[in-house]
């Protein structure tokens, strides 16, 4: 059937075009229906290569379907559907068109079968998503969007250079296992790493996501980083370096999250923490670990989306997102409170919520493969993520001290989107077999044995106890309006300051050098003019015009004399 050969990004791009030309209800209906139709179509697609063509003697594979890409295809459809419903109230064409293009680019990237197609969608992800940040229309958002764009495009450029090297080495552009041997492997690895928010390359995420619009952040949280996780799972499974990078990613953001005041930035840090679990899983590379990484990516899109939606609802209704300004909102936003707590339970991996069924796979895989220390770090990170995303987010927004803000739950479409996400969190948590049947490998893993459940519950309850104890003792760091320095300080403060002082020195030296040169030239002029004035004095001496005429007469008469002789 020819319909099956249409890659899923096509309907999304077409609907973006339609959204450009339509308004109101019609646009809303089209935007909501497209992911559903596209999902049904994807459901029927068999595995294999469905669309490829030759362009300038390169074999380009536009649409390749296998279990790994299908998994991400499904979750991107679900994420797009939920986020579109969440943003139905928005009346902003640029944002809505950008969101559709962005979701389409994400789908294009995961079904791309060669590196050039991947590069095209990789860059499209950056160019389309930046409008979701710009649409906030504030000075801070504008600056954050520019930094985001520069870093994202840099990642794409590295990918392209890597692809060129790869072509030269292997005479093929097919996107399969790449590995870290050779410069091509490393360049592409760094490109993926930047998009996956590896440590020191992570600041674009914590910088841009909290500055995007309320609905934009929900889209952003679903696609870019998950495309990077997919790319790593495809290109670098079993690369041991990833285990250590992932372990660092799970740990360091939780320290920042504990002291961060902007609650959406807290969620951005916890997004890096969750990515860490996936990266560790990919690094271990066994069937169980890859399954864990992929299913955790799947679940993360849902619960992180839910958390960003609930915090978005708070920002939307109150205009504030700093923990120091909020509190006591459970009184006026009860539905949002409950839905947020479902998301918090899911990200903390409580049994019967979806985080539990995927996170335990990565942890089990770490233990089975002898990564004892990594397992301990992951365990610490699990307790930590419960501490900031599971407790801090709901506590400071909805409970804590009463800020006196009285508002109401957000509009129905926003509540509906959160309900769908929360429903999925619980459904997958209760019946994980549905998710496991879609996974790339069949490992027969069962998360619900007494050991796992008890261990995880103990870990979480005693983390909660620690929070309570610290709070009652007054040892918990109070929420203050502040900016916390992170690695972005290097390129936002250190480099500019250094460059400014270096350039100031260069200008100063340059000025001095030029001044000296000018002085030299001037003294030469003075010398020359002195010489010249002596000469003129000799020649003119008080009868300037007369002596000139005299000399002219002398020259002419000489000339005449000579011409008469010859």
């Amino acid at each position: 059937m020819w319909m099956l050969e249409i890659p899923p990004f096509v309907p999304f791009f077409i609907s973006a075009l339609i959204a450009l030309a339509t308004r109101g209800l019609l646009r809303a209906v089209i935007m909501t229906i497209i992911p559903v139709i596209s999902m049904l179509q994807l459901w029927m697609v068999p595995e294999g290569i469905h669309l490829q063509f030759t362009f300038l003697s390169f074999e380009l594979i536009l649409y390749r379907v296998d279990k790994l890409s299908l998994m991400f295809g499904y979750i991107f459809h679900i994420a797009a559907f939920i986020a579109i419903i969440y943003s139905l109230h928005v009346r902003d064409t640029s944002q809505q068109v950008a969101a559709m293009m962005y979701a389409g680019s994400g789908l294009g990237a995961v079904f791309a079968g060669d590196l050039i197609t991947l590069f095209v969608f990789w860059e499209l992800l950056a160019f389309t998503s930046v409008f979701l940040i710009l649409a906030r229309r504030t000075r801070r958002a504008y600056a954050a969007a520019m930094r985001y764009l520069i870093i994202q495009v840099l990642s794409g450029v590295l990918l392209l250079i890597g692809a060129v090297f790869y072509l030269a080495d292997n005479a093929t552009l097919e996107f399969a296992y790449l590995g870290l041997d050779g410069i091509a492997g490393w360049l592409i690895f760094i490109a993926f790493g930047i998009k996956c928010a590896f440590p020191l390359a992570h600041n674009w995420l914590t910088d841009a996501y909290p500055e995007a619009t309320v609905t934009g952040t929900v889209f952003l949280s679903a696609f870019t980083t998950k495309v990077a996780v997919y790319a790593l799972a495809r290109g670098y499974p079993g690369t041991e370096l990833l285990v250590y990078i992932g372990a660092v990613m799970t740990c360091f953001p939780i320290f920042f999250a504990v002291i961060e005041n902007d609650l959406r930035r807290v969620l951005a840090y916890s997004l890096i923490n969750q990515l860490g679990f996936m990266v560790v899983g990919i690094g271990i590379g066994t069937a169980l670990a890859i399954n864990g990484a992929v299913s955790h990516a799947f679940n993360d899109v849902i619960f992180k989306g839910l958390l960003f939606m609930s915090m978005g609802a708070v920002l939307h209704k109150t205009g504030r997102i700093n923990a120091s300004d909020l509190g006591g909102l459970y009184k006026s936003m009860p539905k949002t409170t409950v839905l947020c707590m479902v998301g918090a339970a899911s990200i903390s991996a409580f049994p019967l919520f979806n985080g539990f069924v995927s996170k335990s796979m990565v942890m089990s895989a770490a233990l089975e493969n002898g990564y004892d220390w990594i397992w301990l770090i992951l365990l610490f990170a699990s307790a930590g993520v419960f501490h900031h995303a599971g407790i801090k987010i709901p506590y400071f927004a909805f409970f804590a001290h009463d800020s006196g803000i009285r508002t109401s739950d957000p509009s129905n479409n926003m509540i509906m989107a959160m309900l769908i996400a929360a429903g999925l969190c619980i459904a997958i948590g209760i019946y994980p077999a549905a998710l496991y049947s879609l996974l790339p490998y069949d490992t027969g893993y069962n998360p619900y044995d007494a050991t796992h459940v008890l261990a995880q519950t103990q870990l979480l309850f005693f983390s909660a106890l620690a929070f309570v104890w610290l709070n009652l003792r007054g040892m918990y760091p109070p929420e203050r309006p502040s900016t916390n320095l992170d690695f972005d300080w290097v390129y936002r403060r250190l480099f500019p300051t250094m460059l400014r002082s270096i350039f100031a020195t260069i200008w100063k030296l340059d000025k001095r050098f030029r001044q000296r040169a000018i002085n030299k030239i001037e003294s030469h002029f003075v010398f020359m003019s002195k010489k010249y004035s002596q000469l003129t004095e000799l020649l003119l001496r008080g009868y300037p015009l007369g002596s000139m005429v005299l000399w002219l007469v002398v020259v002419l008469s000489c000339y005449l004399f000579l011409s008469v002789i010859y």
Binding site: V90, D92, F380, T451, L454, L459, F462, L465, S482, L485
Partner: protein, 112 residues
Amino acid sequence: MESKKKHIFDEVKNVKRLLNCLYVCCALLLILDFVIHRHVSHHWERLWAFYPIYGFLGCVVLVLVASWIRRFLMRGQDYYDGEGIDYKEKDKEVGQSLSHVRGKGEGHDVDA
């Protein structure tokens, strides 16, 4: 009107109840450690109450270290404002484009 209404956690009694509930749950979970036979794969897991202790200590260390690094990392809220670029002109432009969009009847994002 709304603020006069008593909510569940306005009563100190209810907060105490919730906390007591948490303490009881924690105690039960500790007792379960003896009851449930666990098949462990790491020798640390055999230690009595390994997970509860690790969870509790992990979080306390996390918060203490975080408050310590806050001393070096915390700056004023407007620390990065005016990053060497004069945004005033930009703001005007953005404002104009916003009013332009509004003028077209398109409306702007009601967000934020």
